[in-house]
Amino acid sequence: MIRTIITGAFCLGLSTSATWAGACGAPDTWHTLTPEDQTSFKAALNLGANTPTVGAPFDVELQVCSTGSKSLDRLSVDATMPAHKHGMNYQPQLSRTGEGQYKATGFLFHMPGHWKITVSVYSDGAPSHLSMDINVP
């Protein structure tokens, strides 16, 4: 079972003056992802201070936590343009940075418009998905 994120946050030495009202105890400046289907997990994503620019690589931070007794076997993250029905030209590289904390590098949105970032969590072999929408000028 994933421990609560607050423990992980202090382990990272993050400022205790931040507001931790986001999903999984993430700062409230992070984006809480929306479940796409039945899931026992919550997730929050940090894009950083700026909206991604078309054609420029960027990284994201993730916090994922279980809402019950389910344990996380693995997870993946990707992005698509729903209107064009295509994804990115690159597979983001995911690394674990702490308990329930991850960094995904190598995102690149190669067109302006509506993108959907999706986190897929796998537990007991079954996937579920959480996502957020972003409009890139």
């Binding site: 054609g55 029905k85 295509h86 030209n89 590289q93 190598g106 067109m111 302006p112 000028p137």
Partner: protein
Amino acid sequence: MRVAGRLLALVVLTLLATGTANSAEPVLSQSQIDKLLLHGPWPVQWDRDPSNRVSGNPNAIALGRDLFFSPKLSGNGKMSCATCHHPGRGWTDRLPQGLGTTKLDRNTQSLFNVRLNRWFGWDGQNDNLWAQSIRPLLDPKEMNASAGHVVKVVNGDPELAEAYENVFGAAPDTANLELTLVNLGKAMAAFQETIVSGRSPFDAFRDALAKGDEKAASAYPAAAKRGAALFFGRGNCTFCHTGPNFTNGEFQDAGVPYFLGPGRVDKGRYAGIGKLKASKLTLAGDYSDDPAKTGAWKVRGVRALHRNFGEFKVPSLRNLTQTAPYMHNGSLATLEDVVRHYSEIDVERLHADGTRVLAPLHLNDREVKDLVAFLESLSTG
């Protein structure tokens, strides 16, 4: 900047209203101006290539220039890099397809602003400029040389050998031909990084809009303004031709046939990714001088997708007036041909689902000329 943009939108409308026979015709909407402003300022900031330890080095640039213009590096001693990438011809050769030891399958790309590329070649088979500089040397269809020949030429020329030693701290190593060739590629890359295009009429217009300079903005031709409205509006050209360099640096199927002849196809990006993954000369490899391997994410993360078949690199639109003909196979002779190609594009041959990235625009003759005028305004000469 946004407030200035709104004021200028009003100004642009007013200027047209008091001017021509099309006085009631709106030109640039706020949405179009917002997109337009993202295509500058120019020039963009450029940082030295960390994978090339001699990037930006004046001595390396000088050595690279000499190598670039030397026909001795080629197998027959008659062909230099500049034979195809001619400085007086927009750093290309103005042929539909390049000519090496034989006629090539693709158009010679211009080297203007090559330092800004994420990928190199129409198929992006290289992720860095120094590897791309070596490729034509070794291609039997192009300069038809070998590492041994190139190193022998440099070593046998006292001025080149001295310049090499001055830059790299040791004489050309004939026992390690690959390393020496990579170093020579890095010098040539350092030279090519100096090939940049200047500011264009579009850049002056863009900056005038950003500053709210009504007088400066009014100098931009009316036809180019109407063309800009198409480019940043229903043309959706900015899906791919985006940012200050007017390219997203990636690849697209633009509806240009890729059949080369009976039983032959140009696989484009699909083949390029295959060559990239097989190469030792990538930003993830040992020849990168960047200990952090900053650029390695590209080769490590790039996906080989079915749709890559027939995709080719989205070129910059800067200095197009100097680099005809156009498209990966040089099949379109003029900018008007290019615009008409997109205007009447056959979507049935594009393998795409969902909302079309490319769709026929059915432009009338004046709209075609306006869009050409806009494209011409991105050039400096």
